[in-house]
């Protein structure tokens, strides 16, 4: 599963890595680039399908809160 994630706080990467590990998944490729007021992370995840689905959903929630905090 590849996700492109927009982060306003680059420290979110720490949360993403922690959550990935906790759900029994891993990442095989990670690329982060800085924009004006945000960061774009493109990450390839591997793991059981159910865990990847949960990870995707929880990352969406995490990024929504990050977006709110940056307003």
């Amino acid at each position: 599963m590849q996700l492109s994630l927009v982060m306003h706080d680059w420290r979110l990467l720490e949360r993403i890595v922690g959550l990935t590990n906790r759900l029994g998944c891993a990442y095989t490729k990670l690329n982060v680039s800085a924009g004006d007021a945000h960061y774009l992370a493109t990450i390839d995840f591997t793991g059981p399908p159910d865990a990847l689905r949960r990870l995707d959903a929880q990352l969406t929630r995490l990024l929504n809160d990050d977006k709110e905090m940056s307003r």
Partner: protein, 579 residues
């Protein structure tokens, strides 16, 4: 973080610390719970002559739990504060507790000066990283010009759509820095948006309900968070549907509703668990299918199609497959369901509700030896005598489950418990928070002897502020829930659960200026409870109960409603003696 221009061009006329307090006041905060220390001293100095009330707890954990109790009982954001390093780390459990139960809290921590950050300075900790996994967001504000925006955002995110805790860590030099006063009203955030569920999904949900023969509704903590109790009551009454609640949903059902089956889950009422087990449609509202509710997920409600309404899309399909997902604010969802069903009613399920009720009987209990106090008798009597609008908090363990089974809360904000995290030490400080939010109401902390000793220092807080919190101490001289599991699942090997050397709790309470009494004879219980409930100030009733009593029913972890255990001891057998 980006800087922002001041909106008022006056000369420097405030400090970061003053700004923090002014923003808190503007956000509606009247009281904060905290403990001072070095790095946060500028904020405490500003508080010295600020109208916001500060409650000094005796441990930072007490401050976090009190903020949780305040928020749970009022629906407002609870605020706690602590200094850097150990002060901040002592908040962690209370903050995670709020995260697990979706409780809005803003935690403010002092941090060492920016120049010391990363140098292993005195009382330095990487608090934002420590707090990351236990909060919705945790931020460190390094520039006073960013402070107001960060605080406003913290309140906005804490409030919702799904509430939770947010941490704002502020270095000492940022608290001291001068800044122009901001235009508070210009910066005041909009309230969280109330998302409405998709109309097509509502149609699908109604179609499923219309075709159902044995539907059951389950309400969770979302009913409380969304302030949706009245709509929930209206919906279940319209449908005549049997319904149950997770522990966080207790109090949502209308008092005396004959179709309410009691609490669901591991220690839930038999009728509730059996009805869900037999259901063909489950209407799950604002709940997250915790393992203490589902047991074995693939066997949970295995004949049912599940309609799941929640504000958080990440909950859909997380534990159990969902047929219809209703994403949105629960009040909006319930409002739409009620409107649509009023226009085009469904035949009442009242006949099935009677059958569902008949699936279970009275709560099974253990017998106390002659004359000795039984914890369940204490709680039965307490709930029978306590006023309808009393706010009850519990700690964690056997007494929590017995109370949850027996509570008669008329509103979900009247029964407050650490559900998801199960934090011992929660109940007493949470009652302090609830009392601060509801100054004229009766607040009772039901605690066990284990958990009470984790927060016993907060007797000083109650004594200092003369808060009329009542403490109902269920003392079985054991870590009872662990002892029960050792008895049932670990061959009676009672490893480190014996608390028979408990202190004299009444003497300790008196040391803090709090009166109380001890009761150990069943014949004295009722009079003692009446005196306890009549007492005006803070008071404690120490109930010395027999130690072998277990919580029944019990669905073993990972099992199903069919595997529920009831009291193992027959009437003819001697009462078991606990080592």
């Amino acid at each position: 973080m980006r800087q922002r221009e001041p909106t008022v061009s006056e000369p420097a006329d405030a400090t970061g610390a003053q700004l923090v307090l002014d923003v808190l006041a503007d956000e509606g905060v009247e009281v904060v719970f905290g403990y001072p220390g070095g790095a946060i001293m500028p904020l405490y100095d500003a508080m010295y002559d600020h109208p916001i009330e500060h409650i000094l707890t005796r441990h930072e954990a007490g401050a976090a739990f009190a903020a949780g109790g305040y928020a749970r009982s009022s629906g407002r954001v609870g605020v706690c504060m602590a200094t850097s390093g150990p002060g901040a780390t002592n908040l962690v459990t209370g903050i995670l507790d709020a995260q697990m139960d979706s409780i809005p809290i803003v935690a403010i921590t002092g941090q060492v000066r920016k120049e010391l950050m990363g140098t292993d300075g005195f009382q330095e900790a990487d608090v934002t990283s420590i707090m990351g996994p236990v909060t919705k967001r945790s931020v460190c504000v390094r520039d006073v010009m960013d402070l107001e925006r960060a605080l406003r955002a913290a309140f906005r995110v804490a409030r919702g759509p799904r509430p939770g805790p947010v941490l704002v860590d502020i270095p000492n030099d940022v608290l001291k820095a001068r800044c122009p006063k901001m235009d508070y009203f210009a910066a005041r955030p909009m309230p969280p948006t109330c998302e409405r569920p998709d109309a097509g999904a509502i149609d699908e949900a109604i179609a499923l309900l219309r075709a159902a023969k044995k539907p059951v509704a389950i309400i969770g903590g979302g009913g409380r968070s969304a302030n949706a109790t009245h709509l929930y009551r209206e919906l279940v009454a319209m449908l005549g549907i049997p319904h149950t609640a997770t522990i966080n949903g207790l109090g949502c059902a209308a008092p005396g509703d004959p179709n309410f089956l009691g609490m669901l889950g591991m220690h839930g009422w038999k009728a509730a668990n059996q009805a869900v087990h037999a259901a063909d449609v489950v209407l799950a509202l604002g709940m997250r299918f915790d393992d203490r509710v589902t047991g074995k997920p693939d066997k949970f409600a295995r004949h049912a199609q599940i309609i799941h309404a929640d504000v958080d899309a990440s909950e859909f399909g997380k534990i159990v497959p969902v047929k219809v997902a209703l994403r949105g604010d629960l009040r909006q969802t319930l409002g739409q369901l009620v409107r649509r069903l009023a226009e085009n009613p469904i035949s009442s399920f009242s006949s099935w509700a009677l059958d569902a009720k008949a699936l279970g009987g009275a709560l099974p209990t253990d017998r106390a030896p002659h004359g000795e106090l039984s914890a369940t008798d204490v709680l039965d009597s307490f709930f029978a005598l306590a006023p309808d609008d009393a706010i009850v908090t519990t700690d964690v363990g056997q007494h929590q489950m017995w109370a949850a089974q027996r509570q008669r809360a008329t509103h979900p904000r009247n029964f407050i418990t650490s559900a998801g995290l199960g934090s011992m030490g929660f109940g007493f400080p949470a009652a302090i928070g609830a009392q601060m939010a509801n100054r004229k109401r009766m607040v009772v902390a039901i605690v066990g002897d284990g958990g009470f000793q984790m927060s016993i220092a907060e007797l000083a807080t109650v004594g200092r502020y003369k808060l009329p919190v009542k403490i109902l101490l269920i003392d079985n001289r054991r870590l009872g829930m662990v002892r029960q599991w050792q008895e049932l699942f670990w061959e009676g090997r009672y490893s480190h659960t014996d608390l028979s050397d408990n202190p004299d709790f009444i003497t300790i309470a008196r040391g803090y200026g709090i009166e109380g009494e001890r009761v150990e004879d069943a014949g004295e219980l009722r009079d003692a409870l009446e005196r306890f409930l009549r007492a005006k100030g803070p008071t404690i009733l120490h109930c010395a109960c027999f130690p072998a009593e277990n919580v029944w029913p019990l669905i073993p972890p990972g099992a199903t409603a069919d595997d529920a255990m009831e009291n193992a001891f027959k009437e003819s057998e001697p009462v078991p003696v606990v080592a």
